[in-house]
C-alpha cells in the first residue's frame, strides 16, 4: 500500500481503525503516521466543544442593577425591572451656519489638494515594491529574453530579474523627472537607469558560446 492509497481510506481509519495492511503502512511511513495522529487529536478535541447557551433574563437584570447602583448608567435609561425605556431625543437638523462651514471646509481641502507641491521628491513608493507579483516583460524585453533562453536557459532568470529591476528604476526615475524637470539628481538617475538597461541589452546579445 502506498501513501496515495492510504489517503483514500484515511476517513475510515480515523473512524474505525485500520486493517492489517493499513496498520503496516503506518508503521513504515512516518508522514502518514503523523497525519493520522494529528487527525485523531483534532477529532478528540472537537468533541469537547460545548454548545453556547444564553444566560437567563435574571442574569441581565442583575447586571443592570449593579451598573445602575454604581452610577455607570443613567436613571431613566432602564427601569429597575430591566425594561428599556426609550427617551425621546430632539431631532437633529443642519442649520444654515453648519452647511456653510461644511462647504467652506470642503473647498479649502480641495484647494490644498490641488495646489500642494512638495519642494523635494514626494515620498513615493518604489515601483518595484508596489506589487508582489513579478511584472511580465513586454515588447523588446520579451524578444531579448527569448533569444537568451535559446542560448542559455540557466542565465535567463538572471537577465529577467535584472530587467525587471532596471525597468522599475526607469519608472521611478521618470516619475521624479516628470514631477520636477529641473532636478539634476532626478535626471542623473534616469540617465543611469537607461545606461543600466543598455548594458543588459549589450551583454545579452553578445554572449560568447552558443
Amino acid at each position: 500500500m502506498n501513501c496515495q492509497q492510504f489517503h483514500e481510506v484515511l476517513p475510515f481509519i480515523i473512524e474505525n481503525g485500520g486493517n492489517g495492511e493499513e496498520e503496516g503502512h503506518l508503521r513504515t511511513c512516518p508522514a502518514c503516521a503523523e497525519l493520522v495522529q494529528d487527525l485523531k487529536y483534532i477529532a478528540t478535541q472537537a468533541k469537547l466543544l460545548l454548545p453556547m447557551h444564553d444566560p437567563s433574563p435574571r442574569v441581565w437584570t442583575g447586571i443592570e442593577q449593579s451598573l445602575h447602583h454604581q452610577g455607570l448608567i443613567q436613571e431613566g435609561r432602564t427601569s429597575l425591572l430591566g425594561h428599556i425605556t426609550t427617551i425621546p431625543m430632539p431631532a437633529k437638523s443642519w442649520t444654515p451656519l453648519g452647511w456653510a462651514m461644511t462647504v467652506a471646509a470642503m473647498v479649502l481641502f480641495a484647494a490644498v489638494l490641488i495646489n500642494y507641491r512638495p519642494h523635494l521628491f514626494p515620498a513615493q513608493s518604489s515601483a518595484q515594491n508596489m506589487s508582489a507579483q513579478p511584472v511580465p516583460l513586454e515588447g523588446e524585453d520579451q524578444r531579448l529574453m527569448s533569444q537568451v533562453s535559446q542560448q542559455a536557459p540557466d542565465v535567463r532568470r538572471a537577465y529577467e530579474d535584472n530587467l525587471r529591476e532596471v525597468n522599475s528604476y526607469i519608472t521611478d526615475a521618470q516619475q521624479a523627472v516628470d514631477q520636477d524637470p529641473q532636478d539634476a539628481a532626478a535626471r542623473g538617475h534616469l540617465l543611469e537607469a537607461h545606461e543600466q538597461k543598455e548594458m543588459l541589452y549589450q551583454m545579452a546579445t553578445a554572449r560568447s558560446l552558443p
Binding site: 518604489s126 542565465v155 538572471a158 530579474d161 558560446l209
Partner: protein, 287 residues
C-alpha cells in the same frame, strides 16, 4: 635492461599519454609578439581568466581545457596590433555540464589594452598597467594593483572587487552584483548599480570626482579623518546617515533634509564625492 622490460616501459608511457588525451584535459602555451599600444581581446564563457603583467613584448597565453569538444582560437593580426583569444564549441558538438570549462592564464606587456568577456568564468586582473575592459554575467570580477589606467567593468550579477587602484579612471556598471572598492582613487571613479550594494573604503584622494549611484542598493563609504572631500549624499526614499565630521557648506545646490540628504566638506574638499540612491540606504562613517 632486457628487451622485454624496455618494451613494457615504452608501452606504459604510450598508454598513459593516450589516456591523458582521451580524458580531454589539455594544457597549451602560446607566445605572440604584440605591437606597443596593441589590444588583446579575450572571450571565454566558463572556467577562469587570469591576466597579469609581464615583461617584454609578448603575450603569453596558457590554457587548460577539460574537453576536446572545446577549441581555443588564438589569432593575431598581421600588424601585430590585435590578439584575439576565443573559446568556442567545435561544430556539431554538444557539451555536457562542465565540459565548457577553459582556464586561461594570460601575461600581457605594459601599455596593452585588454578586454575580457565571460559568462560564468571569474576574471582576475592583477598587477597590470594598461587599460582594461571587463564584463561578466555571473563570474566574479577582481581587479587589483593597477595604476594609471582606465578600468571599465560591466556585470549582470557578478560581484566586483577593485583594490589598490591608483590614478585610475574607473567606471563600473553592475545591475545586481555588489561592488566593493578598497583603496581606489583617481581622477574619476564612477560606480552605478540597479540593486547591487556599493562599498567603498579609502580616502577618495587625487582631487578626483567620485560618483556612486544606485536605485535600491546600499551605499557604505568609510573615510579616514585625513580625507579631503566635498561630499553630498541624497536618497529619495531611503535613509541617509553621516558619521563623518563635515563642515557645513555655505552654499549648496539642493535643499538638504535631515535623514534624506546631507552635504559638507572635510579639510579643503579636494575631491568631489556624490552619493545618490533612490530607495537604498546611504551611510558615511570614519575609519
Amino acid at each position: 635492461m632486457n628487451k622485454l622490460t624496455l618494451t613494457a616501459g615504452i608501452g606504459m608511457i604510450m598508454a598513459l599519454g593516450a589516456a591523458n588525451a582521451l580524458a580531454g584535459d589539455a594544457r597549451s602555451e602560446t607566445r605572440m609578439d604584440i605591437a606597443p599600444g596593441g589590444i588583446v581581446n579575450v572571450v571565454n564563457s566558463a572556467g577562469s581568466v587570469n591576466v597579469h603583467a609581464g615583461s617584454g613584448r609578448q603575450v603569453v597565453v596558457t590554457h587548460t581545457t577539460v574537453s576536446s569538444k572545446i577549441e581555443v582560437d588564438k589569432t593575431i593580426t598581421p600588424d601585430k596590433g590585435r590578439v584575439e583569444i576565443r573559446t568556442h564549441v567545435l561544430p556539431g558538438q554538444k557539451l555536457s555540464a562542465g565540459e565548457d570549462r577553459v582556464d586561461l592564464d594570460i601575461t600581457v606587456p605594459t601599455g596593452i589594452w585588454v578586454t575580457v568577456s565571460t559568462s560564468t568564468a571569474p576574471i582576475t586582473v592583477d598587477g597590470f598597467r594598461g587599460d582594461t575592459e571587463l564584463s561578466s554575467e555571473t563570474g566574479q570580477i577582481i581587479v587589483r594593483n593597477v595604476s594609471t589606467a582606465h578600468v571599465h567593468v560591466r556585470s549582470v550579477t557578478a560581484p566586483v572587487t577593485l583594490a589598490n587602484i591608483t590614478v585610475g579612471h574607473v567606471e563600473v556598471t553592475s545591475s545586481s552584483g555588489a561592488v566593493q572598492l578598497i583603496n581606489v582613487s583617481g581622477p574619476s571613479v564612477k560606480i552605478g548599480t540597479t540593486s547591487g550594494n556599493i562599498t567603498y573604503q579609502g580616502d577618495c584622494s587625487g582631487g578626483g570626482a567620485y560618483a556612486f549611484t544606485t536605485h535600491s542598493g546600499a551605499i557604505d563609504v568609510t573615510l579616514p579623518q585625513t580625507a579631503s572631500v566635498d561630499l553630498s549624499a541624497r536618497s529619495v526614499n531611503g535613509t541617509v546617515v553621516n558619521d563623518f565630521p563635515l563642515q557645513t557648506k555655505s552654499h549648496t545646490s539642493f535643499v538638504t533634509k535631515s535623514g534624506s540628504s546631507f552635504t559638507g566638506t572635510s579639510l579643503s574638499g579636494s575631491s568631489s564625492v556624490e552619493l545618490q540612491s533612490f530607495s537604498g540606504r546611504i551611510r558615511v562613517k570614519k575609519q
